[in-house]
């Protein structure tokens, strides 16, 4: 987590978001279990999980920042640095791999202008990463753009799909 925030940290857990978190309290016997749901709420609001957010979650749930950071870094879907406006995950695990997934990944990197897997395009629009099995192996190649799960993506379909994400 090397990125330092320039602006002061703005609170996420206030108003409606705090109410949403508090509504979950009775569903678990302790507050620590709210950690994954709380991190999802942060990422939804901010796009990524900064040091400031880690501290806020820690304070809200009565945990230490070090503990929260340890958990954040375990899970690959939490972003510990800012990513492009649209985050693209493409499966290249064997079942998709034998059906052309690597070509799709290359096409995504090229068409988005990201240059490389994991990098963000210069216009800040896209970040593309390669991920492991998305649980849709019969529909190669599945990709996830933000929360949209898109199946049967082929190299030819890439430009039209990307055009939907401004």
């Amino acid at each position: 987590m090397s990125t330092h925030e320039t602006a002061a940290h703005e609170t996420v857990f206030a108003g409606a978001v705090l109410a949403k978190l508090e509504a979950l309290y009775p569903k678990y016997p302790d507050k620590r279990s709210l950690l994954l749901p709380a991190l999802w709420m942060i990422q939804e609001a901010r796009g990524w999980i900064s040091d400031g957010s880690v501290a806020e979650v820690a304070e809200t749930l009565g945990l230490t920042s070090a503990y929260v950071r340890g958990v954040v870094t375990f899970y690959t879907m939490y972003h510990t640095h800012p990513v492009g406006r649209h985050f693209i995950q493409v499966c290249t695990t064997s079942p998709c791999g034998i059906c052309g997934a690597e070509d799709v990944a290359r096409a995504l990197v090229k068409e988005t202008g990201c240059g490389d897997l994991g990098a963000t395009s210069p216009d800040g629009r896209f970040t593309v990463i390669e991920v492991e099995c998305l649980g849709a192996c019969g529909f190669p190649t599945p990709i996830l753009i933000d929360d949209d799960f898109i199946e049967n993506v082929t190299v030819d379909r890439v430009p039209a799909i990307l055009a939907r994400y401004i």
Binding site: R32, S33, L36, Y78, T93
Partner: protein, 435 residues
């Protein structure tokens, strides 16, 4: 049905009958189709009678290990005064496996009903359904169905006016295959890193929040309402082969078949019929080279092994592999087994939680050696090295992720040696010439 294909005459649609039918998804549509009759019946049964019925049906865990479900439930303590928990495993992340998501997307109420019945049997007021973070659409569908079940009095403090409390909470994962391992899943729900726990203690003794817990797969739980409705004897008779493999099984088939998808078969259907009749066989002009029948963690099968193999727990073991999760990867003659093994090894190396040295180092080295081989830099001794590594990764770690990485590599070397030899016997350019 063989979503996304129409029902094939050789299928037995029990779980999949309403896949693809949007009207079956909401509460009202599900009730019209006979939904929640089984739960009402279960509410009048003694918990141990529910367990006995499931035991007698022969239902076995559909998440990979095939452990008898009724027996697992019977391990739960009875009158211990502690809270009990059910965890439903909707983490579906094993390469080749994409069957649970069809239950989640098309018939979420079937799963909710199955969870509720299981909760009654094991005396658990609360069930957590742990769904992988990438399943965005299934998550929203499931959450809405749970909300509907509360709104209609199916769930909550007074389920169907019975005075019994049944709660279901949907908990989203955040990207980690290892959280599909049951003890890692419990840690993840508790807000910890998803590291598997050392067993014992077993979950039925000290599981989630240190309390007695049962973990079952989505498909296992979704099969329970039909068993309660139609009886254990009916379910136990659904078998074309071994009496130890009963009921129907969802098989998700991917790779080089004409019609990939999720099919529901009676246990024991010949694997050849599944591949050639249901899935339409190989692409034109291609022949079958290999099958991984139960998700990427099981050994690879040759066409000879597939030839007379019944698709059930015992039949696949007798033919050199395992039914596992029922995620079937079919490969034709264009496939390089070394490449497949390398990519799977990379998967396991990426997903290792790194607690155990043999797993952390073994998965990483296996991937690296195979990559080197593919780059034309392999040595004859690498095969021995891979087998040594595999041996050190099998049966020596906290969980079986490590063993899972070894399975396709060892079976690949044993059964598809020519593919490996091809990469070892390449003519190399002269190093000294600088090319």
């Amino acid at each position: 049905m063989g979503y996304p294909h129409p029902i094939h005459p050789k299928e037995t649609p029990v779980l999949s009958k309403h896949f693809g039918e949007v009207e079956a998804r909401p509460y009202a549509g599900w009730v019209e189709r006979g939904g929640y009759v089984a739960l009402k019946k279960a509410l009048t049964m003694a918990p141990d009678d529910i367990t006995s019925e499931v035991k007698a049906s022969g239902l076995r865990g559909r998440g990979g290990a095939g452990f008898p479900t009724g027996l697992k439930w019977s391990f739960m303590p009875k009158e211990d005064g502690k809270p009990h928990y059910l965890c439903c495993n909707a983490d579906e992340s094993e390469p080749g496996t994409f069957k649970d998501r069809e239950i989640l997307r098309w018939t979420p109420h079937a799963l909710i009903e199955g969870c509720a019945i299981a909760q009654l049997a094991i005396r658990a007021e609360t069930c957590y359904i742990y769904i992988r973070g990438e399943f965005t659409e299934p998550y929203h569908i499931l959450q809405r169905a749970v909300d509907e079940a509360y709104a209609n009095g199916v769930l909550g403090a007074n389920a169907f006016g019975s005075g019994r409390r049944i709660d279901i909470v949907v908990h989203r994962g955040a990207g980690a295959y290892i959280c599909g391992e049951e003890t890692a899943m419990m840690n993840s729900i508790e807000g910890r890193r998803g590291n598997p726990r050392i067993k014992p203690p077993f979950p039925a003794v000290a599981g989630l929040f240190g309390k007695p817990t049962t973990i079952n797969n989505v498909e296992t739980l979704a099969a329970v309402p039909a068993i309660i409705n139609q009886g254990a004897a009916w379910y136990a008779k659904l078998s074309l082969s071994s009496p130890k493999s009963t009921g129907t099984k969802l098989i998700s088939v991917c790779g080089h078949v004409q019609r990939p998808g999720t099919y529901e078969i009676t246990m024991g259907l010949p694997m050849k019929e599944l591949i050639y009749d249901l899935c339409g066989g190989m692409r034109p002009g291609r022949t079958l080279k290999a099958v991984i029948p139960g998700g990427s963690s099981v050994p690879i099968m040759t066409p000879e092994e597939v030839e007379n193999c019944p698709t059930d727990y015992e039949g696949i073991v007798a033919n050199g592999s395992m039914l596992g999760s029922g995620g079937m990867i079919v490969m034709d003659d264009t496939t390089d087994i070394v490449h497949v093994a390398m990519r799977l090894a990379k998967f396991y190396a990426h997903e290792s939680c790194a607690q155990c040295t043999n797993c952390r180092e073994g998965t990483a080295w296996t991937a690296r050696i195979l990559e080197r081989m593919l780059a034309g830099e392999g040595k004859e001794s690498d095969l021995g090295l891979l087998l040594d590594l595999a041996e050190n990764m099998t049966g020596k770690t906290i969980c079986v992720l490590s063993d899972s990485c070894a399975a396709p590599v060892v079976s690949g070397i044993q059964k598809f040696r020519p593919d490996f030899d091809r990469h070892l016997n390449v003519e190399r350019p002269l190093k000294t010439a600088g090319v």
